[in-house]
């Protein structure tokens, strides 16, 4: 559904999702908009189904345009086909060529005129009614949602909307045929409606986060909006900092004080936080940074998705600075991966970057409720020295590499955290032996830790392994399902733990695999290079990658799998 | 700084002795800090001279009754305690002779203060105590002068360094 400012397509789409939730469906709702703060063109990209949805589809079945202002700008993001039905208002002028060329059927729905006939009626409600009727969506839940969102405010607005939806639904009969929605099967699963960014915020709090300092940035702002209201409720603190340098360092200060801390940002902000992450790493003060990746480099395309912050997240720190990098691979996993990140950061006293992306973060979905897992951050507690005059060793060279970490206020364990290389007590040192001991210790604690089977999502078996990460995972999963129907078996390996690497686990996962396809959204193929640099792969992988803002779609992966399976 | 002495601030002999003990302790502490600073900058002879002074001040402090209860915060001398060395009155290349020259200035300042207090205090008991303290201080001045005389006078170019400043751990 698309239209320019004031058309209300986002409101209509949100109501549609709410109604779908009510009716027992699953859904994925992404959005695309122009750069204007107000009045710009916008597209609500909806996919509904009776089964869980983790990916965008190859094309849209219906494109509904309330008007055509600037909508051609989205053409590349709105793939249509001959089977697509374009519904538009005849008063909005001709359908732009770029859409006509797709060969899609075109049907006219006089949304403005129909709305005018109803006192207080709006074209977006006409559209909502028409689309619902076309796909066979039940009217009951739709009316219920209109009631929930409008009745309290204004009874007349509710009645007008109900009438408009009804009018649109009646008019739909003459628009032509389109795919019908299968009825949802009753399942004994709780469902949620949530966006990845809010999910990351909730996961953070579940993991124990009680402090957030942050600077607003697209497309991470919703993580911060969520935390700014949820943290104070749970006894935490949220601060809007003057910049990303302050954000990360405030988090480090709060974490030093014993409060698990998080900040969220996107590429440009992550670049500014890198020095702070080095301090967190060297001083062994845990901190979590959610990077909701957008198109780079520099300011890039702020509102669109790309998986191109992998290099900076893994290799961006100066010095030999191993640290944690975790990537959620679904909207629900934004919760689990962030919660796990907090647990890991606290247990390993390390910075942890959560590499989410715009497609996960800003898409709203109806999903099965994420599991309530037991990962809560906990640090190795310190005990004060009992011998008089003995100085507490904050950076004790332990077997695991993790040293006991006191909380300020604890008597007898005073120490100075330091980004300068230091001795076991934290005293600055430029000696080779101290450097070597601390480097080994900081690496050992990461590589020796038991990450369990959370390091990757592994599904299915086959001669081909599709190795992917982040928001490409959904498309890869759907492609694998389609390929299996065609007799080509492939295995999905989606990395959740990007750093440190798990060479033995990867070797096990790739055992018997004859071909590898890497799927990612990056111009340079950063993930492919990372895999080839960090892992001993049994075969040279094929690469299917593209920069943002266009998402990887299941169809193209499916096609590649079929050709690899020949 | 521009604080002026307040000769009426100390009312009793006991009070005066207590603050003098605190001053001697403070002087010892400062000399010890300077000794450590010179050890860190590898000027060990000068560090040893500061240690010698610190130990001397420890002995002087021990001659007074130990503090019972909270310390009075009276500073009759207006500015810093005269016997406590200015932490910035040193140079990393200074010689032991300079150390005693610095100590002499401090002891002489203290002596002048006691002499003035003996005349200007409005309290008879304090006046009498100040006379005794001045006499004692003259002994310290003589001792430091003797130590200076035993040490070689530094050459004119004592503060020259061919190397530029350098840092072991510049950060």
């Amino acid at each position: 559904m698309c239209g320019s400012g004031g058309a209300g397509v986002m409101t209509a789409a949100n109501m549609f999702i709410d109604a779908a939730a009510e009716a027992g469906f699953y859904a994925l709702f992404g959005r695309s908009s122009g750069p204007q703060i107000r009045g710009g063109e916008a597209a609500a990209l909806l996919r509904l189904g009776a089964e869980p949805i983790t990916s965008v589809d190859d094309t849209f079945d219906i494109m509904l345009a309330v008007d055509w202002q600037g909508v051609q700008r989205f053409a590349a993001e709105l793939p249509l086909s001959k089977s697509t039905l374009i519904i538009c208002d005849p008063s909005a002028g001709d359908v732009p060529d770029v859409y006509v060329k797709s060969g899609a059927r075109i049907a006219h729905l006089p949304m403005k005129d129909l709305a005018k006939a109803i006192p207080g009626g709006r074209p977006n409600m006409i559209a909502l009614g028409a689309v619902a009727a076309l796909i066979g969506f039940p009217v009951g839940p739709l009316t219920e949602i209109l009631g929930k969102s409008l009745k309290k405010k204004r009874a007349d607005a509710y009645e007008a909307s109900v009438a408009a939806v009804k009018s649109g639904a009646e008019a739909a009969a003459s628009l032509g045929e389109t795919k019908k929605l299968a009825a949802p099967t009753a399942k004994d699963v709780k469902r949620w409606t949530i966006a990845g960014n809010a999910a990351a915020g909730l996961g953070a709090i579940r993991g124990g986060i009680r402090f957030c300092a942050a600077y607003p940035i697209t497309p991470a702002t919703e993580v911060l909006e969520y935390l700014s209201s949820a943290l104070p409720k749970t006894g935490g603190v949220f601060v809007q900092a003057e910049d990303e340098l302050a954000s990360i360092n405030m988090c480090i200060g709060a974490s030093y004080g014993g409060e698990p801390s998080i900040t969220a940002t996107s590429g440009p902000g992550l670049a500014l936080m890198i020095e702070g992450l080095g301090l967190s790493m060297a001083s062994e003060t845990p901190v979590v940074v959610v990077d909701v990746q957008r198109v780079g480099p520099s300011t890039g395309i702020a509102t669109k998705c790309e998986q191109s912050d992998l290099n900076i997240a893994v290799y961006g720190l100066h010095g030999d600075a191993p640290h944690l990098v975790v990537a959620p691979n679904s909207i629900g996993d934004c919760l689990l991966a962030t919660q796990w990140a907090v647990y890991l950061a606290e247990a390993l006293q390390s910075p942890c970057i959560v590499l989410s992306d715009q497609a996960l973060g800003q898409s709203r979905a109806i999903i099965d409720a994420p599991a309530d897992v037991a990962f809560v951050g906990k640090r190795l507690e310190a005990v004060a020295p009992t011998v008089e005059g003995e100085v507490f060793k904050r950076y004790a060279n332990t077997a695991s590499g993790v040293s006991p970490m006191p909380v300020p206020g604890q008597p007898g364990c005073q120490y100075t955290a330091d980004g300068l290389e230091h001795t076991e007590t934290g005293t600055p040192s430029s000696q080779a032996s101290d450097h070597s001991i601390q480097l080994d210790k900081r690496l050992r604690k990461l590589t020796g830790f038991d990450y369990g089977n959370h390091w990757a999502t592994i599904e299915g078996e086959g001669d081909i392994a599709v190795v992917t990460w982040g928001s490409c995972t959904g498309a890869a999963r759907e492609a694998i399902t389609r390929a299996r129907a065609d007799g080509v078996n492939a295995k999905l390996i989606s990395l959740r733990l990007v750093y440190p690497t798990r060479p033995e686990h990867m070797a096990e996962a790739l055992k018997g695999v004859k071909k590898i396809l890497v799927v990612e959204q990056s111009h340079l193929g950063q993930f492919t290079r990372y895999l080839r640099g960090e892992y001993d792969l049994p075969v040279k992988p094929e690469q299917l990658s593209r920069p943002g803002p266009l998402p990887m779609r299941p169809g193209e992966i499916h096609t590649r799998l079929l050709s690899m399976g020949k | 700084m521009n604080k002026t002495p307040d000769f009426g601030a100390v009312h009793t002999s006991a009070e005066l002795l207590t603050i003098v003990r605190l001053m001697e302790e403070g002087a010892a502490e400062r000399y010890r800090e300077l000794a450590e600073a010179f050890e860190t900058s590898c000027n060990l002879d000068t560090a040893a001279a500061f240690r010698e002074l610190a130990e001397g001040e420890d002995r002087h402090a021990a001659e007074f009754p130990a503090l019972a209860g909270p310390a009075p915060r009276v500073t009759p001398w207006g500015e810093e305690d005269p016997e406590i060395a200015d932490p910035d009155a040193v140079h990393y290349l200074m010689h032991p002779w300079h150390v005693f020259e610095l100590a002499l200035r401090n002891e002489e300042k203290t002596l002048s203060f006691f002499e003035a207090l003996a005349v200007q205090s409005p309290h008879a008991e304090v006046k009498a105590e100040a006379v005794r303290l001045a006499e004692r201080e003259r002994g310290h001045v003589d001792h430091v002068k003797r130590r200076m005389a035993e040490l070689p006078v530094p050459p004119d170019d004592w503060d020259e360094d061919d190397d530029p400043p350098n840092w072991e751990a510049g950060d």
Binding site: A246, G253, G409 | E36
Partner: protein, 279 residues
């Protein structure tokens, strides 16, 4: 002259660590360290409930020389670390310390916003108008015509020196004072008052660099105790600061703004948060 009694159980010495400073003999920072530890002791604080946070530079080495909890962080970011610590742990006494380059150049933005935010902590800048640790370059507070540096152009930078106290006032700092390392007792009293004063307290301490700015040894003849009482009126403080010659020591402004932040109080269990998303 002043007199007050304390019931401190810890002495200034208890606040010093066994680590020996790397500062040059004669550096003003030795005295500032003494003033800070004396202020802590005079306030009756305990080392384990006190923290010193710094950035990078000569003076920023100070946390290691105290026996409190400490954080020697990165260049310019001490105030961010310190504010985060205080907001997370309002029960701790937080003192942030550093130099003029750390605080006013690379950390200048944080300085302004820390004044505005008014978190209850004390910020001490040991100002020697030079970068010491990198061997003597001009800093934001360096006189515009000072050129005895390999990096300064002949005739100096020509840049107007930063006026930390006036900027602190304009940005909203709640307590503004100037101290001098050559007056450790007076400076200790100022620091103690700064710590007691609610909100963001800023204390600029003139602390000579006898290695790169040997002429600063003369500060002991030019610094003076200010003859005027601290004002609570920011307009009056502004007039004073803008006509100040940089040599007046003492408390110059005492504000009455409330400290930043609310009391931390959980009103919901973590599991309650699910309701917003569950169908």
């Amino acid at each position: 002259m002043s007199s007050c009694n304390t019931s401190a159980t810890y002495t200034a010495k208890d606040f010093k660590s066994d680590v020996k400073p790397v500062w040059c003999p004669g550096c003003g920072d030795f005295a500032v360290l003494s003033s800070i530890t004396k202020a802590f002791a005079d306030l009756g604080l305990a080392p384990h409930e006190t923290s010193v946070v710094s950035g990078i530079g000569c003076s920023s080495r100070i946390p290691a020389y105290t026996n409190t909890y400490g954080f020697h962080s990165i260049h310019g970011r001490a105030l961010a670390v310190g504010q985060g610590l205080k907001l997370a742990r309002p029960d701790l006494t937080v003192l942030v310390a550093g130099g003029d380059g750390d605080g006013f150049s690379i950390g200048g933005n944080h300085f302004i916003h820390a004044c505005r935010r008014n978190v209850d902590l004390t910020y001490i800048v040991m100002d020697n108008r030079v970068y010491g640790m990198t061997k003597g370059q001009p800093s934001p507070t360096t006189e515009s015509d000072w050129d005895a540096s390999a990096m300064a152009p002949p005739g100096g930078t020509g840049m107007t020196p930063f006026h930390p106290l006036a900027i602190a006032l304009a940005a909203g700092a709640n307590f503004i004072a100037r101290g001098f390392s050559g007056d450790p007792n007076g400076t200790a009293e100022i620091i103690a008052e700064a710590i007691r004063h609610p909100g963001f307290s800023f204390v600029a301490i003139m602390s000579p660099c006898i290695t790169f700015r040997e002429e600063q040894r003369d500060w002991k003849n030019t610094m003076r105790q200010t003859a005027i009482e601290a004002t609570t009126d920011s307009a009056q403080a502004a007039r004073r600061l803008m006509t100040d010659d940089g040599f007046n020591c003492g408390v110059l402004f005492r504000g009455s703004r409330n400290s930043y932040g609310k009391e931390k109080k959980a009103v919901a269990a973590v599991s309650d948060l699910d309701a917003e998303f569950a169908l």
